[in-house]
Subunit: 347 residues, 2 copies
DNA sequence: TTCAAAATTCAAAACGTTTTAATTTAATAT
DNA sequence: ATATTAAATTAAAACGTTTTGAATTTTGAA
């Protein structure tokens, strides 16, 4: 494998100049740059990452801890993140080291991986309010980037969508269509994103002057089955009244809700409107739902590039940056005007 | 962070001696070793892996490519391997770099990861007969270890179980119980392990002088549902006769088979015997099946330590070693004597 | 005591890169 | 022509470890 010295010898240059030429330093003669580039190409030069890392003090590797659930279930979300992150980091000459969290204590796996002294930083996901990992890594002075955020305002690097706005946008769409009895089938309550969605939902409903009975707010829904069961229950209208619209944690949950609607002999969007948040996972194409699903959309895959960029920049000394974007509202066929007969037959 | 030089300065020794002392070289004075160890402990010394790697020429990292299926389904198997491998490699001061295979060509992801020049070797799993990855890595001279094997005799490092013996043991148990009509519900036919299981099954049946009609051999069964459907079909006995025993690719498939048995109004082991191979995945405890499942057992997790050891040794220059072990046969309640009435009511 | 052999220890090179500070070469102004 | 400045290049140090070959000290025998 050719080294900087080899290229230098080939051209009668010092390794220093060759290094500068290849790294685009301004003070090197344009002509030399071209000669160096040519020679590097010809000799098949590839920088020795280990040597680079020794001198820069950075390893070029970042870590990510996979939290395995109690039921050992792996989900599409994880693979989607893994695929996206390896690609995005690879483009920045950074490698991803994975470890599996088998402990109860959330910081132990981070401490363990840190002790191996090979990581420049971490990618954190699934933030919970008051996340212990944040305090731990900040105290240790280890750079990290969070996918999402633990609070409305934070002082660490993060990238994600505005989950308060996700609910607000959904509610605003539904109320503009005349809906008044809107239900929320929210995700795992322990995660920060779910708290934000709930807050956004409540704020938006209050702003519209609408009441939300407790039985219209469900939590911890992740699967199609959970969406189905919860929606079926709400549509029974045991509290005296049933919702005319659902805001769902995910497209998977929405699939369950739509099935419940159908099983109740109802029709979306004629009788019931459904909105969901869409992570744009493969094989879960909201547009192919029957009816095509209205969503707030933010492709999980798309988050990987900014996450990688933010982390790598932060590792290199840039200040921690927060980037929160707004999910796109895509109106399709699962939402429509609220049924005019306020007390429809199924209520 | 303390360096070898720091420790040397502290004790009036050269870095060379300190290095040797910590690495257990025989020529260093026992007393010095103790002093060095103490000082290293006191100063919180941890070797700089990057520097080690620069001088040894090894990176201390190995790669593993995850092949994502078309349906993006992740399975327990993958997490089990990931968990086990990170732990086993960590114990050998080696880190695991993951990448995701999104290509059709099986070697492309290996080539890509290799071009990053940071890997000492690879862990390969899910071998197929004539696996292209083997030829590619051998040609490149990159060490690797295969979980399983592409052929009965191979010249690369591998660790796994004897899948021919798995079937033979299962068949031998069943024939010793008097079974004559034995069905095989095999796994994904494209994988080498399935070919071995099939071969073992056929050889063992032939040795016993037993015929196996085509409709008693099913392939590509992975899920509980597939096991259920295939078994239901075979129990219908459309070919004029139904099996009295099943050899199953996995415990998950066996769960489906047992459900089919029950749905047919039959009872295991009275009417039907069932054997499966058990990877000992968490939450799939064969012993808790109803009835407790007779299995050939080889915990997937247990394979990780030898795989890591074989690979790390091979990277360090040891010759490629093949280790094939025999799975343990555990007889439980799902197998019993063949029904005496050769033409039982359900046939 | 003295010498050879064995047991320890050390200095220095090596790994391949980046970067600081110094040096050379070229260009411009006097 | 000479001094001054700018541009381009280089030598050398640094990162922290391992390892080679040499040097030192200790031990044992003569």
């Amino acid at each position: 494998m050719a080294t900087l010295k080899d290229i230098g010898a080939e051209l009668g240059l010092s390794p220093a100049t060759v290094s500068r030429a290849l790294n685009g330093f301004p003070e090197v003669n344009k002509d030399t740059v071209n000669r160096v580039r040519e020679a590097a190409e010809r000799l098949g030069y590839r920088p020795n990452r280990i040597a680079q890392r020794l001198v820069t003090g950075r390893s070029g590797m970042v870590g990510m801890i996979i939290k395995i659930r109690a039921d050992m279930s792996a989900d599409q979300t994880f693979f989607e993140m893994l695929t996206g992150m390896t690609a995005a980091l690879g483009a920045l000459d950074t490698d991803l080291v994975l470890a599996v969290d088998q402990d109860d204590d959330p910081v132990t796996p981070y401490r363990k991986l840190l002790e191996r002294d090979i990581l420049d930083g971490f990618i954190l996901n699934a933030p919970v309010p008051g996340d212990a990992r944040v305090a731990f890594l900040q105290e240790k002075g280890i750079p990290f980037v969070m996918h999402g955020q633990t609070a409305p305002v934070v002082d660490y690097a993060c990238y994600g969508i505005d989950n308060v706005a996700v609910s607000e946008d959904a509610v605003r769409l539904l109320t503009s269509l005349g809906h008044k009895r809107i239900a929320l089938i929210n995700g795992q309550a322990r995660y920060a994103f779910a708290a934000d969605r709930l807050r956004g939902f409540q704020m938006a409903m209050q702003k519209e002057g609408l009441q939300v009975p407790d039985e219209f707010m469900a939590v911890d829904a992740e699967t199609e089955m959970e969406g189905y069961t919860l929606a079926l229950d709400m549509l029974a209208g045991r509290g005296g009244t049933a919702p005319t619209a659902f805001v769902c944690a995910s497209t998977l949950v929405a699939a369950g809700v739509l099935r419940a609607v159908k099983d109740r002999g109802l029709k979306a969007p004629r009788d019931i409107s459904v909105v969901a948040h869409d992570d744009a996972l493969p094989l879960m194409h909201a547009v192919n739902f029957e009816p095509a699903l209205t969503v707030t959309r933010a492709a999980l895959r798309d988050a990987c590039v900014p996450l990688a960029e933010l982390l790598v920049a932060h590792v290199k000394g840039a200040p921690a940056e927060q980037r929160i974007e707004r999910a796109e509202l895509i109106v399709r066929q699962s939402t429509g005007p609220a049924p005019t007969n306020g007390d429809a037959p199924w209520h």
